[in-house]
Assembly symmetry: C2
Homo-oligomer: 635 residues x 2
């Protein structure tokens, strides 16, 4: 159910967040307090901002591992209407997911071997395909998926909490937004700091799940591997179609999103390549064991699908009852779901910086913040996911089907790229590697198609619409940057600076100290100076002309009457006239504006902001050099 | 019940409204469409933007007249717990309100006679009291009251609609905000246009109420002036205390807010003075007749107070049953309640322009917009009332007690001022006039005290806290303007412009066309030119120095290494050094920034906005002349 949010709130809030972050990020002490002291560029490669693989693993794995709790359930749910005779199929479905997991991890390790400095699907595709669009498809798919991960993980975490604590129900959206902001701030502080905060709960959750799996085996050791409640094995239920089976498989595969995080983040490992490979192997083993053990115990205990009680919760009740252990594990699950969003705050900025570095995204994404993270990327990720959360009022069931298609598309592209690489570069054991990757490509391509087909109407079509748009925009951005570079390029040996003819226009509103300063400046720098007075009635114009004469007419005064009380229109008209000046068109028209700077910033609202207005207008519309002379009140 | 709105929404929305209005008001075609073509200043005094009194009356009267429907009820409600024997007292209470109305209107007509160009309590107090603070108290009290009027009228209108149409309940806040925005837009189009839209419903409501009163008399003519259900007359109920009686009276007086609107708006009458006096007399008669007739019929029909059904609604049911007439009148009541807010959009901007003209409020409030109304005042009124609506989620019961104290305070000050004036100026029949006004002053002073005492705990204290703060701020603003004027004043005969020494600093990021243009400009206008390059590492600095030499070093290049990847800090440090330059401190340091202007505005996000940043930073922090050279992409 989508809550009725007035349409302007989400947009407003996202804009405000971006504006706030931007302001915070460029000014002030608040930033220092929140983000910490700035780091020197050379600290980037010092070890204390890098992580040993044992710490990096839980941070990067939260996204993948948080889904083990619901992956098998998502798969078997698709079949549950066929009756209890289908229960045994949770094992083959989960096993096929684990098989896919093994294939993916092997392929990704190949990727890290090929590209030791890291880089996931985008870098691989860029290096191995001529058409840039293939790499862009991979990048766009992953970026979309990152945003979805944040929105879906955070809001589903908050939603589950709210169903335990009904008092939160009306505040789900605000809480989710708050949650994203907290994750953002911790990440803006820098990778190693966020690690300290975020790795512990994930490790705890991993241990909890392994403990549950272990408890299951102990239970089965004591009470038998086939218990009273264990359903029969191997009967093919009536009504089982291939499509249904594929649907179940593709739903179970949603637990595999997040694998690519490690391969994109190789540089944050203190041991780089080797650390990432170790992390992948460890992650594969833990995830595989958890998935298989968990689904096996679900089968042995004959757990059924129940929309109001997750299978994990049911299994915990069988083993531990409604006690402390149950509560602790359920809470850890929720926490990890929220932390899954955090791993994305490493992946998204890294990838977008990579793509932006190639000129396909705004360059601001390449700039490292004070704490050496790609802060702008983090802010964009937070803003987009907050927008999603607000638009869907943190009710994100509708977003889940959009979720896995992007990843599998990127997987396929990466595998294909690696295959091409092995065939080109060769090297030790290249044939095996090529076979591994081409097999991986085939499998993930099939999965992509299965997901796209079975989830098309459920929302996958949205991704298939947005993807080409993003790719198109990216190529347009690159073209723009190329055009600009062409326009700015010059022959350094034969383009000396030239003597330019400048006409200065001083805007005057009366004769007082600011005008005196501005006219002095103009006369000291340019030969052609004109003072311009825009009056709203004849009387004030006459008064100004008299004053100017009294002052001794230091330069020519031109007066213009503005019947509509507007400054901008008569000013524009005047500048247009100057462009066809007697002595030929000047190279530059300089507009000089004396600006009164009050002692306290809030005094600004007591003064007309015409200078700001004129500047904005001029920059937008004309080729005029705008000079602002500040005038401070004497103390 | 106050809805749980996340705290940031109200503030955000109000900020957004102000920003939007400001943007709309200064740029673009949207404005033309919404607001209409700009009007020439000389059109101000042309008759087509002024109103004949018959049209001005309903517009200015909506605030006062809309309250006749609930005034008598508000009074008798305070006594209703004393039992049915109190019912007859609705007549003396209402009669005393009408008496007060007559006194107030007579006094206000005296005010218009004394000040034919208009001006309510503020103008009168300013002219007759030496201490400016008295006038400021009157003005602040009225301004507060105007904002409250908008918030209370609009939200109570919407609230009543929502109780008829429950589907609206969850959207009360958004609807109220929308409502204020619509009123704002219509008013931004100009006075005469808004008249056409808003006078008809008020006239219709007036006619409806007179029709109800007339129907009552016809009914009584046929069925007797004392009917079966008529309660006994004249028994003093047990438990009636003076305080209770005063409370009833002060509650009934809440129907008198809005009287001052006409006297503040004399200039909008085509017949000026005479028109305003006619309007006052007509309004007094209509309101008095309605109040007396209405309360008399309530007594005859023995209507009781019922929190779920207004007395007006009950009386209508007695006369007309649940038919079309009932529906139409109820709807007209709601509509007029919302339109009451509209009259405030004439009063608030006029008053704030008056006060701002004296230097007690930001000067922007004096500027007439394109359509000759005080647009900034309207925008401020809309923003403040939207803030109130959002903070209280359009549940404004809490605001009603704050409501009438301001008005009666302003009344008292105005009467006192007029009394002093008659005693000073004298003139024909001045004694009678002075007696009328001093009597008026005494009465309204007593009412002020009664209201302040009986409603103190109910919220009147908030007004008594805010008032002195506003007055204090106003005097600070005036002091600021005086200081600025002093600082800017100069001896026009003996302060010619002087020759200034200017050092130009050109910020360079590489050697390309923009740099060439900027350096050319700098060399053509100033003698001392320095190019400044801020690099993030040794390597880029070395590359830049080489390029600069290749280019022929047209001026001195200074390179600075920024270890923290910040531009602003090294720039500030450099400028501080320049201020202690070899050749003595220059008069001006000019910072030249070449700014790339993309062809399409949204291309801006593809380029670093460092120039904007530097400009803002410099304006905020240093005495540096900032010059922006635009560089457009060649077509």
């Amino acid at each position: 159910m989508i809550k009725a949010t007035p349409w302007l709130h989400p947009v407003l809030i996202s804009l405000a967040v971006v504006a706030l972050m931007f302001a915070l990020f460029n000014f002030g002490n608040v930033k220092r307090r929140l983000i910490g002291r700035p780091l020197r560029t050379r600290e980037l490669n010092q070890s204390h901002t890098k992580l040993v693989w044992g710490i990096a693993l839980p941070i990067l794995a939260a996204d993948l591992y948080s889904s083990v709790a619901y992956g098998p359930e998502a798969g078997i749910t698709e079949l549950s209407k066929l009756g209890p005779s289908v229960k045994w199929m949770i094992i083959p479905i989960t096993a096929s997911t684990v098989l896919l997991l093994v294939i993916l991890i092997t392929s990704y390790i190949m990727g890290i071997i090929a590209y030791p400095t890291g880089g996931g699907a985008y870098a691989i595709a860029k290096d191995n395909f001529k058409g840039r669009w293939i790499a862009l498809v991979a990048a766009s798919a992953l970026l979309i998926d990152y945003v979805l991960t944040v929105a879906v993980s955070v809001s589903s975490g908050i939603q589950t909490m709210a169903s335990s604590y009904p008092v939160l129900v009306r505040h789900e959206t605000s809480l989710s937004v708050l949650c994203v902001l907290i994750i953002l701030f911790v990440n803006l502080r820098g990778v190693s700091e966020s690690a300290k905060v975020f790795s512990a709960p994930t490790i705890f959750f991993m241990l909890s799940m392994l403990f549950v799996v272990g408890t299951g085996f102990v239970n089965e050791m004591h009470r038998g591997f086939v218990q009273q409640q264990t359903p029969p094995w191997g009967t093919v239920p009536q009504g089982l179609t291939l499509l249904l089976l594929l649907k179940a498989f593709s739903s179970a595969c949603s637990s595999l999103t997040g694998i690519e995080t490690i391969s994109n983040a190789v540089p944050i490992f203190r041991e780089s390549q080797a650390g990432a490979i170790k992390a992948y192997i460890a992650l594969g083993i833990i995830t595989g064991v958890t998935l298989l053990g968990f689904s096996y115990h679900l089968y042995v205990q004959g757990i059924s699908v129940n929309p109001n009680n997750t299978m994990l919760s049911q299994l915990l009740l069988v083993y531990f009852g409604h006690g402390v252990i149950y509560q602790v594990i359920i809470w850890a699950t929720l926490l990890v779901l929220i932390l899954a969003a955090n791993s994305t705050f490493t992946g998204f900025p890294q990838l977008s910086a990579l793509v932006a570095g190639d000129g396909f995204l705004p360059r601001a994404l390449v700039v490292r913040g004070d704490r050496l993270g790609y802060s702008n990327g983090m802010i964009v990720l937070a803003a987009l996911s907050i927008l999603l959360i607000e638009v869907f009022s943190a009710q994100t069931n509708a977003l889940i089907p959009l979720y896995s298609i992007g990843v599998f598309l990127a997987f396929t592209i990466a595998q294909l790229g690696l295959t091409r690489r092995w065939m080109r570069v060769k090297g030790r054991g290249w044939k095996t590697k090529a076979i591994i990757n081409s097999f991986g490509a085939t499998v993930t391509a099939i999965v992509s198609i299965v997901v796209a087909v079975t989830k098309f109407t459920g929302g996958a079509w949205i991704v298939l619409v947005i993807l080409p748009i993003l790719v198109f925009l990216a190529t347009r951005i690159r073209t723009h940057y190329n055009n600009v570079a062409d326009a700015l390029r010059m022959d350094i040996k034969h383009s000396p600076p030239l003597e330019h003819r400048v006409i200065s226009v001083v805007l005057v509103s009366s004769v007082h100290e600011i005008v005196r300063q501005t006219v002095s400046f103009a006369l000291s720098t340019t030969n052609d100076v004109v003072a311009l007075y825009i009056g709203f009635d004849e009387e004030s114009i006459k008064r100004m002309e008299e004053k100017w004469e009294q002052w001794g007419s230091p330069c020519r005064l031109i007066t213009v009457k503005s019947e509509y009380r507007s400054l901008l229109t008569p000013l524009s008209r005047f500048i247009k006239k100057l462009e066809n000046y007697e002595g030929g068109k000047p190279d530059h028209i300089q507009l000089l504006i004396g600006q009164f700077i009050p002692k306290r910033w809030w005094h600004q609202i007591l003064h007309n902001q015409s200078s700001l207005l004129i500047r904005t207008w001029m920059l937008q519309h004309r080729d005029v050099v705008v000079t602002t002379l500040p005038f401070h009140l004497p103390k």
